[in-house]
């Protein structure tokens, strides 16, 4: 069966000269399905089984729990705004399918746009399709608000891939993290769609000054009839949100009223278990930690960055707690882990090896500053309730400088070692 599949694939290979774009496309998909038959030439004769595809795919695997819970949580937050199906399993099919209706278009648009641009550039430059977007394409939907308009997503992904990556030379050459670059593009170009209290819960529309449930055609026209035929509960258009409901995230509450305002709305356990509004994939802290643990265990992501980032947050958090001048400063430092997306940024964003510092010591410095600067933005900046995106992009820019000083230090250490030996 494998052989017939292979011969079929080899038969349909487009001519490289006649249709170069089709050939690039074919090559991308073919090398995805079949590991190529290239053998080593010069240099080592036997190579490690690990390649970039496998590496990136393991990051995608580490994200799967976030995807699962993200899908559920879109529905959960939607219905809890309406005061319905508060329990975990109540209306489970409604929540899951509503989540899918929201998350699938995000995923498809992000990947079609991003991969399309990658394919085009691979064809233009005449090299194989590189797998850099495999991870970016999986990360981008997870860091977006669930109800983001798809055209904005498409523009942001195009911006990030073209300006952030291809302009610098493609995979491995980018200075800034691609997923965060697409998010920061929306953050500054379309701020109302990604900040404030009204964007973190999907499927609500303001009718006569009241937020009410509103569903698109797929939900009412496709899902409802199916559920009806099973005799299950269906989606109801036009239900108003519960009295006094606000879609505010713990962070915006903390910015206004400190820890008391947060706990008045959410319990710490609730924040840890992810039952809060937020970006799609970052809310469930345990699942994020499991992903981080997998990446560290497999040696894919740098534990140095993660550990030093935690340290940076703890040190800055304690200092801010001691200062205690604004409401936001009195949030106990240890609760900063469960509010917002610190852990997600730590596990999947800061550890991007291309944009992080490259030296071991540099990674420690890099992580620490992300932790410290991110918390400063989160607590002190009145305009941006969350800081990790900006802090990571900021440190992305500084990573080469950090590495430069680490390398200079290494060089002078080597020199002093040699002079010591020469004198001995």
């Amino acid at each position: 069966m494998k052989n017939s599949l292979l011969s079929f694939f080899l038969k349909i290979e487009p001519d490289k000269k006649k249709s170069p774009f089709m050939h690039t496309l074919y090559d991308g998909f073919f090398t995805f399905a079949f590991a190529p038959n290239h053998v080593t030439k010069g240099g080592v004769h036997v190579r490690d089984g690990m390649d970039l595809k496998r590496l990136m795919f393991h990051v995608v695997i580490a994200l799967q729990l976030c995807y699962l819970f993200g899908t559920y949580n879109i529905g959960q937050q939607h219905f809890s705004a309406l005061g319905m199906y508060e329990g975990f399993l109540e209306g489970f099919h409604l929540k899951i399918f509503y989540g899918l209706v929201q998350i699938l278009p995000l995923f498809v648009v992000a990947n079609v746009v991003g991969l399309g641009i990658e394919f085009f550039y691979a064809y233009k430059k005449g090299h194989g399709i590189e797998e850099g977007f495999l991870v970016s394409g999986a990360l981008i939907p997870l860091v977006m608000p669930p109800a983001l308009p798809l055209w904005i997503l498409a523009i942001s992904v195009a911006f990030a891939v073209i300006i952030g990556k291809e302009a610098f030379g493609g995979t491995g050459m980018n200075v800034l993290n691609i997923a965060l670059l697409s998010r920061v593009f929306i953050f500054f170009a379309y701020p109302t769609t990604i900040s404030g209290d009204d964007v973190w819960v999907a499927g609500l529309e303001k009718v006569d000054g009241v937020w009410t449930a509103s569903y698109n055609f797929i939900v009412t026209g496709v899902l409802n009839p199916v559920f009806e035929s099973f005799g299950w509960a269906t989606y109801q258009n036009g239900i108003a949100v519960v009295d006094g409901y606000s879609g505010a995230t713990p962070l915006s509450l903390a910015a206004k009223g400190g820890w008391e305002a947060v706990t008045a709305r959410f319990t710490p356990e609730q924040m840890f278990w992810g039952n809060i509004p937020g970006s799609v994939g970052e809310t469930h802290k345990l699942f994020v930690l499991m992903g981080a643990g997998l990446l560290i265990y497999l040696g894919i992501a740098s534990w140095r960055i993660m550990v030093s980032m935690v340290l940076g947050l703890v040190v800055t958090g304690i200092l801010l707690n001691m200062w205690d001048a604004t409401p936001a400063m009195n949030v106990p430092w240890y609760y900063h882990f469960s509010m917002g997306s610190f852990l997600f940024a730590m596990a999947f964003m800061a550890t991007d090896p291309v944009t992080a510092a490259a030296t071991d010591r540099g990674k420690l410095i890099y992580g620490f500053f992300i932790g410290a600067i991110g918390l400063v933005i989160r607590v002190l900046n009145p305009a941006y309730p969350e800081g990790w995106m900006l802090a990571i992009l900021f440190m992305n820019v500084f990573a080469p400088l950090i590495d430069h000083f680490v390398v200079e230090g290494h060089i002078s250490k080597r020199k002093s070692r040699l002079t010591k030996l020469a004198n001995s």
Binding site: A35, S302, H410
Partner: protein, 544 residues
């Protein structure tokens, strides 16, 4: 105060303070505290039970005398037993260098400890085997000439005293020439009984350095040395700072050098004494400290040399790594290195006055029916060596190991410095989702492979590239595979952008290809690191 007393006191203090707190707290908190106290009490109880039985076991072990060799007896392992840093007894009073970096590639096809019965008729001397030789050497023989083992074949035009001699006695049957009349191969058909050219034996006790160098150069034995930086033929006018010898090879499927040199104690000692004449510094011996028992006695018993033990994974057996830890070379330094078997060859020359360049060659690889050792002079013909094996187009013959060896055809010959040949399968096949769900075992540094997770399951590797070449993406992976205080990735990037000053500052002169071969093996981006390094070394060499 002994451990038990201390434990008891600290626990009672802790308990006391906790009951104090519990007594002062009232309301909801006290229930929680009470529960915690119960948990702590239970833990303490079990801790005491374990502690007592642990001590009882130790007492019993002492009573019956089972703890004499320093082993620890008890219920719980000691911390150092868990992390495994306890050194074997033979290393106690030695200079030991331990490295956690590196990786032993688990491969099938290690040479069995037996001598294979092979008869090799054709041998070749190939100028391309010698790095740093001037392009076209002056050939001193013609087709049809008969030579004895040790007779000069050609000399280096830049150093006319530097003779390259014949490995065997026989008849010159072929001189293969390449472009611009470059010499590719000089093939010798060996006699049935070997005849050796006799030289004046240098007297080890009285010979001067100049005389010794002259005598070694004229007999063709100076070729056995390599000079660092650059890993090239030594310059006869240079007195090396030190001479380094590694007495174990950590490369995949490498020969067991202790087995290889068995019975050559006297010649090896004589060789070491000759070496110490050649340097203004010392002769350093790197010994294998990985075993539970001491390294082979032929190496530990040598006198007049400095011995260092090395403990770690490949490439810890590489002489370059050992130099780095014993006494690193600065760009101005020149040191020489030599293989252990070649030390014995020099020793034999010193004692008997003949050039007998016979070495034990490890014939390895999972694709072979019989692996083992063959005792042949250098330059042996592959087709003669592998005459009893079925080697086809599906196989690759490597002179050397799978990391830094050279591919040769079946009609080719073993390289001059190689003491191993490896036969591996060519990996010219497509693999369905091979990058994601490999169906057969393959060596890898990465824990994403079950074989690596299980602690390194040996596999019959093939030569598939395992992916396509990419830009540098992953950081820090070379650092884990190079047991030297060098930043490899930064160095490679400096070479790629041709930043000479940075290359020198980052220590390029301390490296040769074999040292970074493991990094190249483990590189996720499939970068050709050995050839990158060589191009950098060439630039530095050209700059002078």
């Amino acid at each position: 105060m002994n451990r038990g007393k201390f434990l008891f006191l600290s626990l009672s203090l802790l308990l006391g303070s906790l009951t104090e707190v519990a007594a002062q707290t009232n309301g909801e908190g006290s229930q929680f505290l009470l529960n915690s106290l119960f948990v702590i009490a239970a833990l303490v109880f079990f801790a005491i039970v374990i502690q007592v039985s642990d001590n009882l076991m130790a007492i019993e072990a002492k009573r019956i005398g089972a703890d004499k060799d320093g082993n620890h007896f008890g219920l719980m392992p000691r911390f150092y037993e868990l992390v495994g840093t306890k050194l074997p007894a033979y290393l106690k009073n030695e200079k030991v260098i331990i490295s956690k970096k590196g990786f032993d590639i688990p491969l099938e096809g290690k040479a069995e400890a037996e001598n294979l019965n092979v008869s090799v008729h054709r041998f070749s001397v190939n100028p391309a085997n010698f790095k740093g030789i001037s392009p076209i050497p002056k050939v001193l023989v013609e087709i049809g000439d008969s030579v004895k083992a040790g007779d000069p074949i050609f000399y280096d035009k830049s150093q006319p005293d530097f003779i390259f001699s014949s490995p065997v006695s026989g008849e010159i049957v072929e001189i293969k020439r390449g472009e611009k009349r470059a010499i590719n191969e000089i093939v010798i058909l060996a006699d049935k009984t070997q005849q050796y050219k006799t030289f004046d034996k240098p007297n080890i006790a009285t010979v001067s350095r100049e005389e010794l160098v002259k005598s070694l150069a004229s007999s063709g034995l100076m070729t056995l040395f390599l000079q660092r930086p650059f890993n090239i033929l030594p310059n006869l006018s240079i007195v090396p700072r030190d001479i380094f010898i590694s007495t174990f090879d950590s490369a995949p499927l490498a020969p067991d050098l202790g087995y290889v040199l068995k019975g050559q104690e006297i010649t090896f000692q004589a060789g070491c004494e000759a070496l110490s004449k050649l340097t203004s510094g010392k002769v350093y011996l790197g010994l294998d400290g990985n075993g539970d028992t001491d390294a082979a006695s032929i190496f530990t018993g040598v006198t007049g040399v400095e011995k260092y033990y090395f403990r770690g994974k490949h490439p810890i057996g590489n002489v370059g790594v050992q130099i780095h830890h014993i006494k690193p070379i600065s760009p101005e330094d020149k040191v020489w290195t030599i293989n252990v078997q070649d030390v014995a060859i020099i020793g034999k020359f010193m004692l008997e006055g003949i050039v007998d360049q016979t070495r034990m060659l490890a014939i390895t690889g999972a694709e072979l029916k019989h692996t083992g050792y063959a005792k042949v002079p250098f330059g042996a013909s592959m087709s003669d060596l592998l005459s009893s094996e079925e080697v086809t187009e599906e196989h690759r013959i490597i002179s050397g190991d799978v990391l830094s060896g050279t591919q040769v055809s079946k009609e080719g010959f073993v390289g001059f410095y190689d003491d191993q040949i490896t036969v591996v399968a060519e990996g010219k096949n497509y693999e369905l989702f091979g990058w994601l769900l490999p169906l057969d075992m393959r060596p890898s540094v990465s824990k994403t492979f079950p074989g690596t997770l299980l602690g390194g399951v040996a596999s019959a590797a093939n030569t598939n590239n395992r992916g396509e070449k990419r830009a540098f993406v992953v950081t820090g992976e070379y650092d884990r595979l190079l047991p030297m205080d060098i930043l490899p990735q930064q160095l490679f990037k400096a070479i790629v952008v041709n930043d000479v000053e940075k290359m020198e500052n980052l220590g390029i002169h301390e490296l040769v290809e074999e040292d970074v071969a493991l990094c190249e093996f483990g590189c996720t981006s499939k970068q050709p690191l050995q050839s990158i390094l060589r191009s950098g070394l060439d630039v530095i060499k050209a700059e002078g």
